[in-house]
Symmetry: C2
Subunit: 306 residues, 2 copies
């Protein structure tokens, strides 16, 4: 299968590089790093072994790229609107677009822009960051879950999972809604709270007051999912997420990094959208709504001091 990567950063860059290294035909769209990667290739420092791709197919203009079978989208969701122009040149009749992004409501929006498009969610469980131009630092984990949103061709999802596995990426298919909301159980409390309290995951869980608050925020996500008829989210899953985070190294989630580096934060799809979707179903998420309000305040200030 032929692949395109839109958003060659910590996530898109990592998974695209793994596929390219395994011999797949991968085409990368780059923006600020284009010239650097043309000259130096794409470098991956990884807990599973470092590697470099000295010669890869890189583009700075999507109109010069070929039509592909699978598009991996690793864009920040603050740039989601760009997909309206970036996707069309890459699509043939049966292209699958995999959104490897955080949040709720992404596939619904992209589907509205491209009604016939085959879409899937890619849920990455990975600690990875782009530390320098053309340099991706993969610290740990790396598995990806694929949730089929609107792809009628089941074999295409299977082929994608296979390609990932053969490239050394642990991949498997999951139920779309359950997977998106399960990821939100971790993402919604920890991304915002590490920004608002200017701290890391471990310290939030060490203090009883914020451990309780994180737990309550997780309960709001589980409650919203249940109100929407999504299966598989319960108190046991919350305990599992807390335990997993207790066992992790002290961690700064992507929103904390965005805030620290004065980049806009992914507030809309991570907070605003799921809170609105839950509210429409009659379920209130007051503590996550307050966190969203605090983040909007901080996001604005960040932009001011940029």
């Amino acid at each position: 299968m032929k692949y395109a990567v839109i958003g060659t950063g910590a996530i898109g860059g990592f998974y695209g590089a793994k596929l390219a290294r395994a011999g797949h035909d991968v085409h990368f769209l780059l923006h600020s790093d284009y010239r650097y990667v043309c000259l130096n290739g794409l470098q991956v420092t990884s807990c599973n072994g470092d590697f470099i791709l000295p010669q890869i197919n890189v583009y700075s203009d999507v109109n010069l790229m070929p039509k592909v079978d699978v598009v991996l989208v690793g864009l920040k969701t603050t740039n989601e609107h760009l997909l309206r122009e970036l996707l069309p040149p890459l699509l043939h009749e049966h292209t699958l677009v995999l959104l490897i992004q955080n949040g709720i409501g992404l596939e619904a929006d992209v589907q509205e822009w491209f009604p016939g498009l085959a879409l899937a969610a890619g849920l990455a469980f990975i600690c990875s960051a782009k530390t320098e131009p053309g340099h991706i630092n993969h610290q740990c984990y790396g598995q990806i879950s694929i949730g089929n949103y609107s792809c009628g061709d089941k074999a295409l999802i299977d082929a994608l999972v296979n390609d990932f596995c053969q490239a050394g990426v642990e991949a498997h298919e999951v139920e779309y809604n359950e997977a998106r909301w399960k990821k939100a159980v971790w993402n919604m409390p920890f991304n915002g709270m590490t920004v608002a309290m200017h701290t890391q995951t471990n310290l939030l869980l060490q203090h009883p007051a914020t451990r309780q608050l994180i737990t309550e925020q997780m309960q709001e996500v589980v409650g919203a999912a249940n109100a929407l008829g999504v299966n598989g989210l319960n108190e046991a899953f919350i305990q599992q997420m807390l335990q997993m985070t207790d066992d992790m190294v002290p961690y700064s989630p992507s929103m904390r990094l965005d805030y620290d580096f004065h980049r806009p934060m992914e507030i809309f799809y991570l907070y605003t959208r799921p809170i609105a979707i839950a509210r429409e179903a009659g379920f209130a998420m007051p503590k996550l709504e307050m966190l969203q309000q605090q983040l909007l305040f901080l996001d604005n200030r960040t932009n001011n001091v940029k």
Copy 2:
């Protein structure tokens, strides 16, 4: 009437100094500033005119103080427990104790320690700070409202109001519960939010997201007061508080100063207690409860880096 001041800081020091300057017999208990004030007196820089009290009655030991008719308490509520030992030497059979402190539940606790004691709340509307040893900086406002909690002698309250007025302090009597909860409408959102967001009142109101959050937190206080059967709090009062704050100079409330100077924050009587009282009445304050949880986290960290 004979007065004692416990906690000769921004608040107790200011009101005590005004009474002493007007010729009343006032006895000040000091702790860290005792020696300095013995030598240099108590200095007040005030928007209504600076003055200095070169010779006042100062004590470092409450057991050396006389019994008085009125005790003004200006202690930080984080030290409220000290009143169990500080009050007895000052009390005769009809002493009135005026708690010029922020929060909900203070009089109930002190009453439990001293069942027969005559208690009143002093609600100070004042911008004042102790900027150096023995030096109080009174920036603006200054009025004090007296809410009778358990003083059977109505004439004593009147006499206190009179003494304040003759000393140039705008004073009047108010209904105890209404006054305490009305003050909480401003105090609960702004004290904590300026700490959590590390900002000032004006910026919180300028951003639509935090203006909405502050408004919702005020609505939680009004809702709690209504659930407790307290009169006089409604949406119009909230609008009045927002308007007043819009018209104020950019302001850092006392909790923000405490946080910045690594002093413990008054979380218990400003948040924990009113939230618990409302919950017992069946009313939830989720956004103020979250703010309390964030403050407990930040308070702890402050103590760590001290």
